[in-house]
Every structure is written in structure tokens, then in C-alpha cells.
Symmetry: C2
Subunit: 152 residues, 2 copies
């Protein structure tokens, strides 16, 4: 068991998770002064994007899938393992999303396109570094391209 103490909280945006249309939503990430110092964000504004690691705390633990299911209950999409799909109800309920960084004001970040609801605990913020993009040719199934078509 690993104890994780959030470093901040998502403020604003949606109050309930929805499947699609996250792209234009702007939210604040308010960092906790008990966890990080104001200097922790020095230089962050030099990056256009950040990677937000968050805990999808409103997903009930009993709803977590540990096997396979049809993504979004779409039976026309293949039954897929929970680790092979972008579902919320996954073990440990950790979300990782790269978002546009709009502004940095001390311990408050403004971002666009974060698919996390108001009140979501934030576990880490990383700068988006292009050198960490996938190396080599990318391959993914067609159904996930359909799923993403309206996501942003």
C-alpha cells in the first residue's frame, strides 16, 4: 500500500464527469501550500502544456473493473481489458491528461482541456516535454479513434 497525499485540487469546470467535449473547459489547479512551496512552479510558464496526474475520487471503488468490458457499453466496440481502454473505473482510479497551461500565478495554475471534475485531488504536475512523446510508429485500434472523435 502506498500513501499518496494530493498536492492540490481541481477548482471549477464540470461538477460531474461526462464522456465528451472536454476540450474547451477551463479549470484552476490550486496547489496546497502545505505540500509544495511557491517556488515549485518557477519556470513552469515556459511550457505550453502540463501533464496532470489526478485521482478520480468520485468513481466508486465497487464500480472498478478488474477484467474486461465493452468500452462505454458499446457492444459494437470489442470487449476490451480495463488496461486496454481509457475508462475511469480502472484499478487505482488514476487519471493522466496533458492539458494546455494558460497561466501560472504562484500556486494557482489555469489550464484548458482537463477531463477532471471540480474537487478532484491532484497528485502531480509535470511539464509536457516533447522528448517524452512515444518513440517509433504508433498503432491503435480503430474503435478508440471513434471514441476520441468527440472527446475534446
Amino acid at each position: 500500500m502506498i500513501d499518496i497525499v494530493p498536492i492540490g485540487t481541481v477548482r471549477g469546470g464540470r461538477t460531474e464527469a461526462e464522456d465528451d467535449a472536454w476540450g474547451t473547459i477551463e479549470t484552476d489547479i490550486v496547489l496546497d501550500a502545505a505540500r509544495v512551496r511557491p517556488e515549485s512552479t518557477v519556470g513552469l510558464a515556459d511550457y505550453s502544456h502540463v501533464v496532470v496526474v489526478f485521482h478520480m475520487h468520485k468513481v466508486a471503488e465497487v464500480s472498478v473493473e478488474t477484467g474486461a468490458r465493452h468500452p462505454r457499453e458499446r457492444t459494437d466496440w470489442p470487449k476490451s481489458g480495463i488496461l486496454a481502454q481509457p475508462a475511469r473505473s480502472r484499478p487505482n482510479r488514476i487519471g493522466v491528461t496533458t492539458v494546455e497551461l494558460l497561466s501560472v500565478d504562484g500556486l494557482k495554475l489555469r489550464v484548458r482541456g482537463l477531463d477532471a471534475i471540480d474537487g478532484t485531488p491532484v497528485l502531480d504536475i509535470k511539464p509536457y516535454i516533447s522528448g517524452f512523446a512515444p518513440r517509433g510508429t504508433i498503432r491503435e485500434p480503430n474503435w478508440v479513434k471513434e471514441l476520441m472523435a468527440r472527446y475534446w
Copy 2:
């Protein structure tokens, strides 16, 4: 406080963290049958890459930086906030890396380019989905391009 129970462990590869040259290293990720069922990886082989979320357990908690410092103690690089650099000694010690998926055999995955050492607890595996790549133009400071030059 959030309790996270790892879903698996990194096996093989380096036994100590190093700064550079992770690109050719192959490791296994052995998932824990007490946490996920064999069906959890169904369809994963349809993706070329996976995103591995892991806990950098060998980083001593006392060494975690909560403010700013020079990346890799390079005083020719700007003093940067811990959230504005790709350092291990960050709050919550969570790593997120996209790696090539070489094979899937039930609860055992073989990957290339994972910058985590033997024994590292794995918190989540996500498929790499191109639709989650950053939207818009990417901007990053020059020093981080220098840092990444020998990373893979």
C-alpha cells in the same frame, strides 16, 4: 490521504536509477493476479505503446524537493520549480512514461524504454491513444531539450 495498491511490478532492467540511455532497456511488467484479472489485458496488443504510471519507491522521502533547484545540479540550467522539471525527487514520487509495448502474455507485458528500475511498483497501465496527445503548439525551454538529448 489516498491509499494506492500497486497492480504490478517492474522486473528486469536496471537495478539503480541512472540519468540517461533508457531507450533500449527492455523490462517486464508483471501484473498482480490479486489486483487484476487476466482479461484486463485483452486487446492491449492492438496498441504499439502503453503509458506506465509507477511509484519511484527508491527515492527517499527526505530527498523530495518541494521548492526549486537546478535540474541535475546543472547551474548552467535555470533554477526551476520541482513541478517544472522531470526530476525523480518530486512530491508523491510518481513517474509517468510512454513506452513501446513489445508483447503481452496474460498478466506479463514486455516493454522497451521504461525509465524505472527492477522492483518498481506499477500503479496503472493505460493504452497510448494518439487523441490524448497535446492539442495545440508545443513550447518548452531549451535546457530541457539538452537534458533529453541523451535520455533515450
